[in-house]
Symmetry: C2
């Protein structure tokens, strides 16, 4: 949960940076950089100086020696657009060494400019019939597989009870399994499995591609029965999520994938905190599910970051729905119990390659068993007397 | 200039990472991560293992103790799309600690899939009549100014002989100076100045905004006489540049601004090397001018990075034109001579706030004098006998 709040109708942001004696000056420079980017002393207009430039509310020194600046920006500086919001929060100061955006809070006047997640946790549960357990997510892969192989794979995964089946983020429009052919066949295979087995799997193709093909790919996917869409905001921009969430005809959940976003979180001394870039920002843009690497997989994400991302998915954000954290990145079947316990039921467990060790459908069924059992154990733990 | 070449029709990439004994394994893991993202041992198909997964060509240890892996990817893995190219080069491995993409080389088969810069150095020189000197660039600002103020400013800047006048990247669609009103009035003011003074200033509005308004903003700007367009690839995606460069009706130079891209270059141990993210990649996408922070300004960029970016703007890249490096970020009039000498004539010097200390038109004229004089001095230096 954010440590700052925006009850004064301004956008609140907290930055950490190095520096000792001139911390106040650095903070003043930062709000100038992120708003007017112009020498303050040359601004003749008193209103502009007072009302347009961000304000430094407080600067203090953290235990780790880093300076912590709490600043606020007027909502008017954003003009209601996600690109400018991002530009103001971290655009130019991404180029400053050692600056990290660690917290934000948005006033309702800003939140009201965006549609928010259309489905959220409850909506995705409703679509998949996964009411009281972690959702099960996976990707069709690997790149290089033919459409037939991917479609058969999707069929088995749906038959085995996976809730969310997405394209691997590397599946674009290669000749191996071109976008339209793949989406048509995979959507059809999943629909068939859902009908045969009474399952409710969602297929979310990756629609990040050429700019001029965005609308066509989205419309094609929906026409073919895709019941979700995956976006790579680090490559296509966060605003694409907002755009899809705003479209009345895009009545399916939106998944955000972290490709390229690791640049913001690689250093604890620079960039944007994981809970913001993988939690608050995709949720603000309107994602219903956000993928990020869970601790102990291939990407060494610390557990506390995972907890903070999960919290950002559900803590108060105006009237925006809670969304699903989807920890992945080398998750294995052997960790389903542990990870389910860590996140609780409101999670989409993303297991990829490990499902393919042996029979795919049987593994999918086992995946569901493990997730259901983890919840029962957890419920038992929580209700057990503390003797 | 790239240290690798792509004469074998594959995409070459060089990554640095930490690690000692298992460097070969890390490199093998990396090419799997960036292509199939799937356990290699589960891939039954020999063709897929041999032809789809990236190949590790060489791993060596650099003087600084970092491991250097030279890998190659098949062009077919990209499917001709910029988003997938970026995803493959650094998408998932952005989430690996300590990995940096330091070099790339693209085969002609890949380059042929993209339009490349339409104008390049020669084209922008031709439009502005700035034949044998550094180009002069600036931004209208600050955010909060009214359209009238910005239009008068643009008029003075054009009258004073500035070649490229762009929107500050924070000018989006705020009520202070809404996009359409601003673009119409500023374009008109610059046209008037050009007619009155025989100048050839280009106006490049910032067109990164809501996804669904991209086409409208571009078309509106062009209709109003904007003779350039600025994109924020770190926020809107590099593919927007490629899209604009591909459109036959967008017959104006494209400027790339580095907002948010600093996340990739903040650490010398992670991310993407500055020459790639500010040079090669925008040029590959089709930008004609690329903005980045010059050394010694507000952003502490090392000189050698600036030299490498400049080199990436003009070194061989298939048949793609050389483009203009536009160093900025706190550049002052007092540094015009030094910076001109550093880059040589093929540069767009970007001076912002400092032009506003005193009379704007006179400062613009002085800016041009300084740039012309720097070139004469340089020519003199170069032709002087080395006695």
């Amino acid at each position: 949960m954010s440590a700052v709040s925006a009850t004064d109708n301004r956008i609140h942001a907290v930055y950490e940076f190095d520096g000792i004696e001139d911390a106040e000056q650095v903070a003043l420079g930062l709000v100038v950089e992120e708003t007017i980017e112009y020498p303050r002393e040359l601004v003749a207009d008193q209103w502009l100086r007072d009302e347009v430039i961000g304000r430094v509310e407080d600067v203090s020194c953290a235990e780790n020696g880093r300076q912590v600046a709490h600043v606020t920006y007027p909502v008017e500086d954003v003009g209601g657009e996600i690109p400018q919001l991002l530009s103001m929060l971290f655009g130019n100061c991404s180029l400053w060494p050692g600056v990290r955006l660690v917290d934000v809070a948005f006033p309702s006047a800003l939140l009201a400019m965006f549609p928010g997640p259309r489905f959220g946790v409850a909506g995705v549960r409703n679509m998949t019939g996964a009411i009281d357990r972690p959702l099960l997510a996976t990707a069709i892969k690997p790149l290089g597989s033919s459409t037939d192989v991917l479609a058969s794979m999707a069929y088995e995964l749906a038959a085995g009870g996976i809730d969310v089946i997405k394209d691997d983020q590397g599946l674009a429009n290669q000749s191996y399994a071109p976008f339209e052919q793949r989406v048509a066949h995979v959507a059809s295979a999943i629909r068939t499995a859902n009908e045969q087995f009474g399952t409710h799997a969602i297929y979310a193709p990756c629609i990040s591609g050429p700019t001029e093909q965005l609308d066509h790919r989205v419309e094609f996917a929906l026409t073919q029965g895709a019941a979700g869409l995956m976006v790579l905001p680090g490559i296509a921009g966060f605003d694409v999520i907002r755009y899809l969430a705003s479209r009345d005809d895009v009545n399916v959940p939106i998944l955000a994938h972290p490709s390229m976003l690791g640049a913001f979180t690689a250093s604890s001394h620079h960039g944007i905190a994981p809970n913001l870039i993988y939690g608050t920002l995709p949720r603000l843009a309107g994602a219903d599910l956000t993928i990020f690497p869970h601790a102990g997989g291939r990407f060494s994400f610390p557990l506390e970051d995972c907890a903070a991302i999960s919290s950002a998915c559900s803590s108060e954000l105006g009237i925006f729905s809670a969304i699903l954290p989807a920890p992945g990145g080398g998750m294995t079947m052997g960790r389903v119990a542990e990870v389910s316990q860590f996140y609780g039921p409101d999670v989409a467990l993303l297991v990829g390659g490990d499902l393919h060790r042996g029979d795919l459908r049987r593994n999918a069924e086992r995946f569901r068993d493990l997730a259901e059992r983890a919840m029962n154990t957890r419920a038992h733990d929580l209700s057990a007397p503390s003797s």
